[in-house]
Symmetry: C2
Subunit: 406 residues, 2 copies
């Protein structure tokens, strides 16, 4: 063991010993792999399989149709929304779970444009983060086309100067999926409001990793997935937040029967429900929903809070940047993730020309991150189950791998 | 035991003894309840829980992100679509599974209107089944609003005379959810085509219970749920069929990244995939999808075919109508389900003023159907697990219950 490695291993040991969240790792199914891909698919909480078995064997198998009432299936979308609410700084009654993120982006953007048009009919432009995860851009293009708006891609930093009398809605990512940059949600939301437009935030890469403050900052609408830092499982349903004051004006482009004021009245005319339920569409996907509900129990453990998670997340990414800085020769990789805490999500993205080959080898060596074309190594840090020894090992194996390639 | 009851019980025994599908009941988790609500939520196939456990514990828990490739998660929507295809008379490559029925109705109707407009820009009317399950009507209203069309509710029998130069698309139910009436898909599709419009069929209450013949009859687009006669589990994802010849013209209003030609290219511009995948939107809901995939194995058993299921379905509903006719005094209930086989789905709906109270008592006595407001008792017959003795018992308990009430 080199002196350097010995020093960083000791540092990791001390950090792990002082980590108030360290014991949570036992709540997850993990092996000897360093799993830094929880920002793509969160690890399995150990208690979830038995809960899913109960849903399948007893709730579906034995109670069958009775479970819509007796097992609380019907109300699951709002109930689980209320479990997510405190994690994103929302009071209860404003979040509903269901459908994919893409479908929720469509609902949110179309509804935002309709609200803006009610205020000022001439508003005919949607602004979208120019570096957005692609699906948001594709869906925004469709929302623009179907509401008669133009779509304008703008870098988040340029949004304030791009806003104007024509702006109806602005769709932004809280954390950039590629670079890990954390955007300034309070300031950007305030700027959107000052222009008389509506702010729609995509929280996929921030919810469960850092404070969001939806209510505090007056966000209008928000969407997010639940299979990253919320560990809901592969393709678990997304959620939609509609600020309470706007719920009566939420005019959904997907007014399915689940959002009807009286869904079992089987009425031919549509009358929207009040509250968060207005964001629902069709029959909720119970297996995935209830796996997610179980996964959220982790947040009820003693000492777990978004603040504690954020503090550890920053310590993890700081330590990773330090280890990479010490292990990897200067210039071999370049961090595209901001160094400033206020601008950093819970991931570190490193640029190098041979990133695809490097990530392949890293995974073979038990360090799992992901590759984002064309040249980014992406490492996600889930504070609930990633420790500092993992971080040291990941950086060390990365240095070894980079020394072989390139 | 009365003479009448003895005679019908013997008849049931003979029918059960001659039933080539009788052994399939063992493949399902059932108890001493007569479950005639499989047209709302299909019973649990006995092998599904272990398959779901494997998906959760091994595929998610151990392989984690690798399962998108190694466990075939990414291709599940098309692969499972190809399993449903033979059940609805479609060649492979035309069905994709995902999202709810409501969301798929939106995709199908908007795409149908866009195709019609390409052919003839002046088409500006959507016709919808006036007795449709409500969600189809609500979503059709939204599709009409967002494409600049008028929505016109028309009784299916009147559709041929309502079609015209303005008709863009027609949305019809193959089987009426309330009355159980089977509509004439071949003739109505031909009439829609003769008018130059596009036919969208909702198969929720027919798929898995009777032949559909999508390819044979030239249906343009179709949607359906998978939790009724396909036994996919509560809220299991729906499917979308786009006829092969129309796939290149399918212009989705929900062009999420899963439908991109190169989804992992992370390109800012949208380019649609070819084939059925173009109907996808966001990340597929893996737990529910793979539970459905497991459930479909039942259709691979020896002797199981849509034709055999249909023959038994008609025998079951015939026998139920006979038992009701013999046990229940004339005039106490009225069947709103057509007597003609060509017009009957796999359910029997009986009208009586006190239907809500009657169904409550029936369920207490172990005969589970459902109540549809204001006055319908609905009994669904899933030939895979309902037998003739069940049918006799249901009718007998119904007669007993009706004698007490009303």
């Amino acid at each position: 063991m080199s002196e350097l490695s010995s020093e960083l291993k000791s540092a990791a040991e001390e950090l792990d010993a002082a980590d108030g969240l360290a014991e949570l790792r036992e709540r997850f199914v993990l092996d000897d792999v360093v799993y830094l891909d929880g920002n793509s698919l969160g690890a399995l909480p150990a208690h979830v399989p038995d809960r899913v078995t109960d849903v399948v064997r007893r709730q579906w198998g034995e109670l069958r149709i009775r479970s819509w009432e007796e097992s609380g299936w019907w109300t699951a979308p709002e109930r689980i929304g209320d479990r997510i609410a405190p994690l994103v700084g929302a009071a209860t009654g404003q979040i509903v779970v269901g459908d994919s993120t893409s479908v929720n982006v469509f609902k949110a953007l179309v509804a935002a444009v309709r609200m803006a048009r009610e205020d000022a009919p001439a508003r005919d432009e949607i602004i979208v983060d120019a570096a957005t995860f692609p699906t948001d851009g594709y869906i925004a293009e469709s929302a623009a086309r179907m509401t008669g708006c133009a779509l304008r891609p703008v870098a988040p930093a340029e949004v304030p100067s791009a806003l104007g009398d024509r702006t109806a809605a602005v769709l932004l990512n809280h954390v950039d999926y590629r670079t890990g940059r954390l955007h300034d949600l309070p300031a950007l939301t305030a700027a959107v409001h000052a222009a008389g437009a509506y702010a729609v935030w995509d929280l996929c890469h921030s919810a469960g990793a850092l404070p969001v403050g939806l209510d505090e900052h007056g966000v209008d609408l928000a969407v997010g997935c639940t299979y990253k830092y919320l560990n809901g499982g592969p393709g678990s349903p997304a959620y939609l937040y509609v600020r309470r004051e706007l719920q009566d004006r939420f005019d959904s482009p997907l007014p399915g029967w689940n959002s009807h004021a009286e869904p079992f009245g089987m009425r031919p005319g549509y009358e929207p429900a009040s509250g968060a339920r207005r964001g629902r569409v069709g029959t909720p996907d119970i297996l995935s929903l209830l796996a997610l509900e179980a996964a959220l129990d982790v947040w009820d453990e003693d000492g777990v809070s978004v603040a504690a998670v954020r503090a550890k997340s920053l310590a993890l990414t700081d330590f990773f940047l330090r280890c990479v800085g010490e292990y990897v020769p200067d210039g071999r990789v370049e961090s595209v993730t901001p160094a400033a805490h206020a601008e950093r999500g819970s991931q570190v993205a490193l640029r190098c020309d041979d990133a695809g080959e490097v990530m392949k080898r890293l995974i073979e060596r038990g360090v799992v991150g992901d590759f984002r074309a064309p040249d980014v190594l992406r490492f996600g840090f889930t504070p609930l189950y990633v420790g500092f020894a993992d971080v040291e090992r990941a950086a060390r194996v990365l240095a070894l791998t980079l020394a072989e390639t390139g």
